[in-house]
């Protein structure tokens, strides 16, 4: 399959006024196939925004090869932007203009724009077209932003944290819109720090941490990679720690009013606890069994990487983080 984005060995080093340097991106390899939705995941300062802005042509790079829709973003002609839609993290259209006016304005920038009606319908702003932008809610403004990114009929869309600051229902709406982009065959590079969003929307997830790609694959594949244990917790007032057989206590954590064990052998632990509770007439109301979710997977992935970093480069504290 043809590649919409192909990145090899991308590096970006910032030089601060003080003369110190920050390696925000340290050798990233990345590709996005045509029609694919790729989620680019990372915490703040991981190098996510720096990478995407290099791909969008907003920043120059220090090293590596970058091809986006067949062009190097650093030298691409303006016509390259005909096929690219960008939703920025922070951008607010003219508050004085109406939705329709700002759409008309942006449509005039492209050779072959889509119809305004169609795009407003797609993002769910058809009922707001005569409203001034300043009266739109935060979620509506982001939808307008997406509409502006789509008006030129792009082949590739960059969505930089499209749902940050959304309430849960607005997030679901945004997800629906991105699903519709998939139906249109648009290639999407989505950055987010929500693992559930990445899982819901993307064909593939790439995790960046400390300026490097640390994991890649489907959500399930990533979960397998970190192999998180299930967490069992209860109140030691109901069932004492001594009720758990010694052999099962390896990862036991004792707090004031809660005990936690991370384990692969949930059955054995729950069995021990419930036997003790049955024998001693305890209701065991505080029992909790929590399977690891994607958020935990993400945290574990990034934590492990940061720990590795510290282990490998004891003097690197001044050169890590702060990529955005």
């Amino acid at each position: 399959m043809a590649r919409a984005i192909d990145v090899r060995g991308l590096t970006k080093t910032y030089t601060l006024r003080s003369g110190d340097t920050i390696e925000a991106v340290r050798g990233v390899d990345l590709h996005v196939d045509e029609g694919e939705i790729l989620a680019f995941l990372g915490s703040n300062g991981a190098g996510k925004t720096t990478t995407i802005e290099i791909l969008e042509g907003f920043r120059d790079r220090t090293g590596g090869d970058v091809t986006v829709l067949g062009q190097d973003p650093a030298t691409a002609p303006l016509s390259w932007r005909e096929d690219i839609g960008v939703v920025l993290q922070e951008s607010e259209p003219s508050p004085e203009l109406t939705v329709e006016e700002v759409m008309t304005q942006y449509a005039s920038y492209y050779r072959a724009p889509r119809s305004i009606d169609e795009i407003l319908e797609l993002v769910g702003l058809a009922d707001h077209r005569m409203q001034r932008n300043k009266v739109l809610s935060g979620g509506q403004k982001r939808r307008l932003d997406l509409a502006l990114a789509l008006i030129g009929d792009p082949k590739l869309v960059f969505l930089d944290e499209p749902t940050t600051g959304f309430d849960p229902s607005a997030r679901r709406d945004a997800w629906g819109m991105i699903e519709r982009l998939r139906e249109l065959g648009t290639t999407v590079l989505l950055t987010t720090h929500y693992m559930d969003e990445a899982e819901q929307l993307s064909d593939r997830i790439v995790v960046i941490s400390g300026g490097r790609i640390i994991a890649e694959g489907t959500a399930d594949a990533l979960a397998d990679q970190v192999q998180l244990k299930t967490r069992v917790s209860w109140d030691p007032g109901e069932v004492p720690v001594s009720a758990v057989p010694d052999v099962l206590r390896s990862d036991l954590e004792e707090g004031d009013d809660v005990v936690r064990i991370e384990t692969d052998d949930v059955t054995a632990i729950v069995h021990a606890l419930s036997s003790w509770a049955a024998d001693n007439g305890s209701a065991l109301r505080s029992l909790g069994v929590v399977r690891p979710n994607l958020e935990d997977t993400f945290l574990r992935l990034t934590d492990t990487d940061e720990a590795d970093d510290r282990g490998n480069q004891p003097d690197s504290s001044s050169s890590t983080g702060g990529g955005e």
């Binding site: 601060l16 303006l78 390259w80 690219i84 920025l88 951008s91 003219s94 004085e96 304005q105 492209y110």
Partner: protein, 256 residues
């Protein structure tokens, strides 16, 4: 391309019209000054026999031009830059210079409107005439002045870090000049620091070049000073050079 420039100008004017603060400072503010200064000094007679108001009208028109170009563009651009609108624009295939040209054209339209308003105001309130015979040079000087202050307005955005700082910095640069540039009061041209300092900046030359158009013909004609044209033209070149070199599209937080 022309269609895109016209479209950019149209939306820039629409944005302006719906922004009460911008409208107030560009349209109402100069008229207020005309009325206030006009009623205080306007009817006093100068040695030449002409009324003070015949100099106040070109002075206030100069202020109106600076507002419609320098302030309007500087404030508008900083707001658009810091809110990410300019960056967003760079994500489209539109040629940046086309968009800038549209903004400048929008400012020129405001200048044309204010020229009519201030001229009519002077006529109605203080009976200040308009010498139609000077129309050619008048239009030329208005265009040169507008171009100069548009360029300087775009250039100064480079030293304005955020939206909050925009009014303070632009006013700090221009307001003191009004007092030494024949805008609010006529300076004594016979010498002295205050009399001459305005000659080095672009405000006073513009005001001086507009004066002959409002000077009553029964008291003679005012000469056009070549020095004023040259000074204004030099500032125009400086403004364009600085703006092309230092104008930034990305918000402050994005720069490293």
């Amino acid at each position: 391309m022309l269609a895109q420039i016209l479209s950019a100008a149209r939306f820039s004017l629409l944005t302006f019209r719906r922004n009460p603060a911008a409208t107030f400072f560009t349209v109402v503010f100069p008229l207020l000054f005309l009325v206030i200064f006009g009623f205080i000094f306007g009817n006093e007679t100068l040695d030449s026999g002409a009324k003070v108001a015949t100099f106040q009208v070109p002075g206030i028109l100069t202020l109106a031009i600076v507002s419609a170009t320098f302030f309007n563009l500087a404030m508008g651009m900083v707001v658009r830059r810091e809110s990410g609108q300019l960056k967003r624009l760079r994500a489209t295939p539109l040629r940046p210079i086309v968009w800038i040209a549209g903004q400048v054209l929008g400012s020129f339209v405001l200048v044309a409107f204010m020229t009519v308003v201030v001229t009519l105001g002077g006529r109605v309130l203080f009976d200040v005439a308009f010498n139609v015979s000077t129309l050619g040079q008048f239009v030329l000087f208005i265009l040169l002045g507008s171009a100069t202050f548009c360029a300087l307005g775009l250039a100064i955005t480079a030293v304005i870090p955020n939206i909050d700082a925009a009014p303070a910095i632009t006013n700090l640069v221009v307001f003191p000049l009004y007092f030494v540039s024949d805008v609010f009061l006529l300076t004594d041209d016979t010498g002295g620091f205050i009399g001459n300092v305005g000659d080095f900046f672009p405000v006073k030359p513009l005001a001086n070049l507009l004066q002959p158009t409002y000077f009553p013909s029964e008291f003679g004609t005012l000469d056009i000073e070549m020095r004023s044209i040259v000074t204004l033209a030099i500032w125009c070149v400086i403004g364009i050079a600085l703006a092309s070199r230092f104008f930034r599209w990305m918000p402050q937080q994005d720069r490293r």
